[in-house]
Symmetry: C2
Subunit: 389 residues, 2 copies
């Protein structure tokens, strides 16, 4: 169990007929309270899908009762008609649940620029409300229904010392980028917390987990991470305790997103140390993580530190002050570059494990930052040239 | 004829034994004067190869007599020893030619982090000075000797109304990026011009040609573009006339670089119109050109405008003010997106030509900017995972 493991939640996933494949494509998560605390973060892309525009204003009051998620269509770049579709979706669900439409959050994922098929979607929502339940089966079906090119559903959970439970599910397998990925995440907790506490926990968690994933530098129009708190545990948990559990579940899900990135054969962890600031460290880590030449080399099991150093050198001095002559690069534990030049032989590096660890020391300060990415593979090209998404 | 077509130049290309393949790997271009005017622009990567560091200071006085170029090794990230190698190279050649080492420019390209084999290099330079000549054969050999993963040599020339000739050769087939590519370019002219005029012509030309090529967003440590002017025509050409000829030759070479980019199956021209400023237009064009999802879609002959719009939306508002609802996208002449939403059907777009034209109208002003890039293909991944460069 995951999203309904915290007390006070029900969920469902089913086939509404939005996807032409006939796979599950509609999920609901309902918070039965007593609290209806909600927080959310959204894509920073200026092109925002209709459900993002809707959910952003709906969650502004820190409250929500339910999230409806569909795969099979992003409802992005669909204009006023697309927004009306999202509005109708929320109205329809709120009528069935006897709540305000303003307490319905909506998430969509799939192809940009196409209208959603509203008849099957609304009929699916009607059916979904009759099948809501708690337990493994509901959780599994909901996590499957939000998949697009994901190869596996992604779920996680954590329990705090005081007994509060946090559960979560995520989808995302490409367009994974800074300030969120093509990624829908729903987190649930039975903690008895107010909106400000939930919001702080969620923002703190995303900043160090989902925001650190940069699979292919492409930022989606639909990214949404939602936290719902039911208060059903009756435990007024400390803010820090909740924050840590939300962060742990987010980190677990983020790691699963990286592991399932489209066509990847290596999960790459870029850690930049001895930077002047965390921001500088992250800028260098992100530049390395975004280098197609670095990513292709890793696919070829080549610890090509020259490409890593060249990528680091593309970061402006004003963003990350460091001296190239003090830079070292360690790949999977072997320091292949020291003081800006060749050190241990690249043949000593074992590149066969799925996880590749690139450690860069800037020799400029004491701050650290890390980014997760993937290698650039034939399968990435194949999936993203053959799949219109 | 190309680089020795302007009067006053000799060149040579030969096998020095730097490349293990046994292919040509050393080129010389000598300016016999009477002028020794020179200008150059270099990579803005903070990691600069030894020959870049050398040539930057050598050309600072606006004069140079010769350029020696090697493939088979970048001499980057090689520390003080690598710089000493470059220095020795310049000293050796200057001794043979009876000139100052300060009048020798050096360019290297190949793998980062390895020392150059100095014995074959210096012996090759000695042999080269004995084989300098003007004409097709010398030009062809020189342009071949600077190739790495290039599939064809790249040369161009232009003649101005007043009879001044500009010739050029270039190498580059990957790591092609903003503010220059992994790219070595030597331009020659017999114009009778001073260093300031040559410098202005070169900087103007690179800003609108080589700097607009962004094959894979990876900026090299060795990029160098050099212009040598011999004055041998005796024609004191107008600055504008020279600038236009230098620009024309640079544009020709830049287009050839795009056409030969590693593994590409489409040359992609991204034109952004109706921006508030040229800088804003270029920022949007570059973001689209750098999107792996856009590039993979083009490889798949998919005019996926949603990915184009999503990429445009990643540019911060402060950099490029525009309203997504006013944005249109035209791919190969078909306006697939108007007012931020779907317009003509994507099936109307013919993606089979090698050249793909993406036109984005921001509806925000009157400035235009364009970037050339390539699609993301299996062959790109193959070349860059199998080839250690």
């Amino acid at each position: 169990m995951t999203i309904t493991r915290p007390r006070g939640f029900r969920a469902v996933g089913l086939v509404a007929g939005i996807k032409s494949s006939g796979a599950e494509d509609l999920a609901l998560v309902v918070n039965d309270g007593p609290r209806d605390t909600a927080a959310a973060v959204f894509t920073s892309n200026r092109v925002q899908a209709a459900p993002v525009v809707w959910s952003r204003q709906a969650v502004a009051d820190g409250r929500a009762r339910t999230v409806v998620l569909n795969s099979g269509g992003a409802n992005a770049c669909t204009g006023p008609d697309g927004f009306a579709d999202t509005h109708r979706t929320a109205e329809h669900l709120s009528g069935l649940l006897g709540i305000s439409a303003q307490d319905v959050l909506v998430c969509s994922t799939g192809l940009i620029g196409e209208r959603l098929p509203m008849d099957p979607l609304l009929a699916g929502i009607t059916a979904a409300t009759e099948q809501l339940s708690s337990g493994d089966e509901a959780d599994a079906a909901a996590s499957r229904a939000i998949m697009t090119t994901d190869s596996v559903p992604k779920t996680a959970e954590a329990t705090t010392a005081s007994g509060v439970v946090v559960g979560g599910m995520a989808k995302g397998a490409g367009m994974l980028a800074p300030q969120l990925a093509t990624m829908l995440v729903v987190l649930t907790t039975d903690a008895d917390v107010d909106a400000a506490t939930a919001d702080a926990a969620l923002r703190g968690a995303t900043a160090t987990t989902f925001d650190r994933v940069d699979s292919d530098a492409c930022m989606s129009t639909n990214d949404t991470v939602i936290l719902l708190a039911s208060g059903a545990s009756g435990i007024a948990v400390e803010a820090d305790e909740l924050a840590e559990a939300v962060r742990a579940v987010s980190a677990d899900l983020a790691r699963q997103l990286v592991a399932d990135a489209e066509g990847a054969s290596h999960d790459v962890h870029v850690v930049v140390r001895s930077a002047t600031t965390e921001q500088a460290a992250l800028a260098v880590a992100r530049e390395i993580a975004r280098s197609n030449l670095v990513k292709a080399a890793i696919f070829g099991n080549d610890p090509n530190w020259g490409r890593i150093v060249a990528a680091a050198g593309c970061v402006p001095e004003a963003v990350a002050p460091f001296d190239v002559d003090h830079l070292s690069v360690t790949v999977n534990g072997v320091e292949v570059c020291r003081a800006g030049g060749a050190h241990r032989d690249r043949s000593e590096v074992d590149m066969t494990p799925r996880e590749t660890l690139i450690e860069v020391d800037l020799g400029a300060g004491s701050a650290t930052g890390d980014i997760w990415t993937n290698d650039l593979t034939h399968d990435y090209v194949e999936e993203n040239s053959a799949y219109s998404s």
